[in-house]
């Protein structure tokens, strides 16, 4: 099967002033794949996502989306930020429907579909609640529905669950996998600093070196069967083997970033 890359980075280098965030990044995410990116803090993971989103233009090199060079905002992608970007003066469904409204979907239809999505992510009773009235987990659900409702081909996720407690986090990860499985062929680029999370969710784990001038150290294919049980998978011997293997590499990078005092 000839696999088109949904997202492709070719020799991408990004500098901010005198600081080189990433250097010669080269990798692609196959269409329909779930790709995790791990690396120590300050390794330019967010820069990578912002490039894929088209929020910043690559200084050098090229970012392509389904074979076409990206310029301007990536219209094929949704972006789930580390802190949710919800509008505080809009209710849960008011926030979920934003993408539809921006695309010119008529108000009544947008509201109806937004309500469906609220129910789908377990917010049925909170459709009219404002973000300030919602817990961190529920806000993530709103953000998740907000990014999925527009049916994007690519989902960019920047440590979306890092601020949640362990149990809420496990549930959200499971729901993310369920959503992804039920949608056909969405590509997910999931940035995290948590290696366990990266392996448990992804088809492929990309390891970045510590910054500045991060590059791709290695890529690992995760051949664990799907659907995955996120609780039991952590006791799977193959999971452990993979974890050990990747960690031995990631560890060096983490130590290097410690050495720089981060």
């Amino acid at each position: 099967m000839p696999s088109t890359a949904a997202l492709q980075f070719e020799n991408v280098t990004q500098r901010f002033g005198g600081y080189t965030a990433i250097e010669n990044i080269d990798f692609e995410a196959r269409a329909g794949a779930f790709v995790s990116v791990v690396g120590p803090s300050g390794c330019g993971k967010s820069t990578l996502l912002n490039l894929a989103a088209g929020l910043i233009e690559p200084g050098d090199g090229r970012v392509s989306v389904f074979g076409e060079r990206l310029s301007g905002i990536n219209r094929k992608a949704s972006y789930m930020f580390q802190q949710d970007g919800l509008l505080p003066w809009k209710t849960a469904i008011g926030n979920i429907e934003l993408g539809l409204r921006f695309r010119g979907v008529e108000a009544r239809e947008a509201a109806a579909r937004s309500r469906e999505w609220a129910a789908r992510v377990g917010l049925a009773g909170f459709a009219e609640a404002y973000p300030a009235q919602l817990s961190g987990g529920m806000r993530k659900r709103v953000a998740m529905a907000q990014s999925w409702i527009v049916d994007p081909d690519i989902l960019l996720m920047d440590e979306p669950f890092s601020a949640l407690d362990v149990h809420t986090r496990l549930r959200m990860e499971a729901e993310l996998l369920a959503l992804w499985a039920s949608s056909k062929s969405k590509t997910i680029l999931f940035v995290t600093h948590d290696l366990e999370e990266a392996i448990a969710l992804a088809d492929e784990v990309v390891v970045l070196s510590s910054g500045p001038a991060s590059r791709v150290v290695n890529r690992y294919t995760v051949e664990l069967a799907r659907p995955r049980d996120l609780i039991d998978i952590r006791t799977d011997p193959r999971f452990h083997e993979l974890y050990r293997q990747i960690w031995s590499e990631l560890r060096k990078e983490v130590l290097a970033s410690y050495a720089r005092g981060e």
């Binding site: 989103a53 970007g85 505080p88 993408g99 907000q146």
Partner: protein
């Protein structure tokens, strides 16, 4: 709210506090009345609470006060609406065109530094003795409050919120309408009470300095005839009106910002 109640309860149970507050007021007015009656305070300069109350009641009963109060409120409302509209428009525009904003910045600061009272005579010349000279004075006060708040509201929008809206497909116009404008309005709403209070002050000052109607005019007329009772009665009516408007604005503000919880 429960927490606030608890700490108030620690100081004094709520109902008792109200009783003490009323007692304090009664004691003050009583002392005033007694001192004037005993001849310790000159009635000519200080009038008497009972006389002032009688005057206010008379104004209300004859309906004499209403047209004056209506004029003052009308001027304040016009000043607020015009000043706030201009403030939102310019604050928004300059925040979106930072270069122009930087160019105009020193001039805006200079104009804001000017004590507004000195503008009253020139506005009287330009706009005459009618309501518009007072409205103009009120506008100069409201405009700057709203302008600075709008400016800040637009610039302080969380970049994540802006990027999120962009990624969801917002055009520049949609971004302004759904994200930046509401964000600026939240700042304007939270300064509603201040702007409307200042608008009232400005128009009363304007009336005081030259007018044919309004509560400020009443006070200046009473003063001109050494009618201290009239001056105090005018002040009482004005305070009551400002309190009532403030209460209404507070309710409106809470409703507009209900999402803040």
């Amino acid at each position: 709210m429960p927490a606030a109640n608890k700490s108030a309860n620690k100081l004094m149970p709520g109902n008792f506090m109200v009783i003490w507050q009323i007692l304090l007021g009664v004691a003050f007015l009583g002392a005033w009345q007694a001192l004037v009656d005993a001849g310790k305070l000159d009635k000519f300069f200080f009038s008497r609470p009972s006389d002032i109350a009688a005057r206010v009641v008379q104004w209300l009963r004859t309906g004499f006060i209403w047209p004056h109060l209506a004029v003052t409120l009308e001027e304040a409302a016009l000043a607020f609406v015009l000043g706030a509209s201009a403030g939102v428009a310019l604050g928004f525009g300059l925040a979106r065109a930072p270069r122009l904003g930087a160019l105009l910045d020193p001039y805006i600061k200079v104009m804001n530094a000017l004590p507004r009272v000195v503008l009253a005579p020139i506005f009287l010349l330009w706009f005459g003795l009618g309501i518009w000279s007072k409205v103009a004075l009120g506008v100069t006060v409201v405009f700057f409050i709203v302008f600075f708040n709008t400016h800040r509201g637009v610039r302080d929008v969380d970049p994540v919120v802006v990027n999120n809206a962009r990624m969801l497909g917002a055009s520049e116009w949609q971004l302004a309408r759904h994200v930046l404008f509401p964000s600026a309005l939240t700042w304007v709403f939270s300064s509603l009470n201040i702007s409307i209070g200042f608008a009232m002050i400005a128009v009363v000052v304007g009336e005081y300095l030259g007018a044919a109607r309004g509560v400020g005019y009443l006070i200046s007329q009473a003063e001109g005839t050494f009618d201290t009772t009239g001056v105090f009665a005018g002040m009482a009516v004005l305070s009551a009106a400002v309190l009532l408007v403030g209460w209404g604005v507070g309710r409106l503000e809470r409703w507009l910002l209900r999402w803040k919880v």
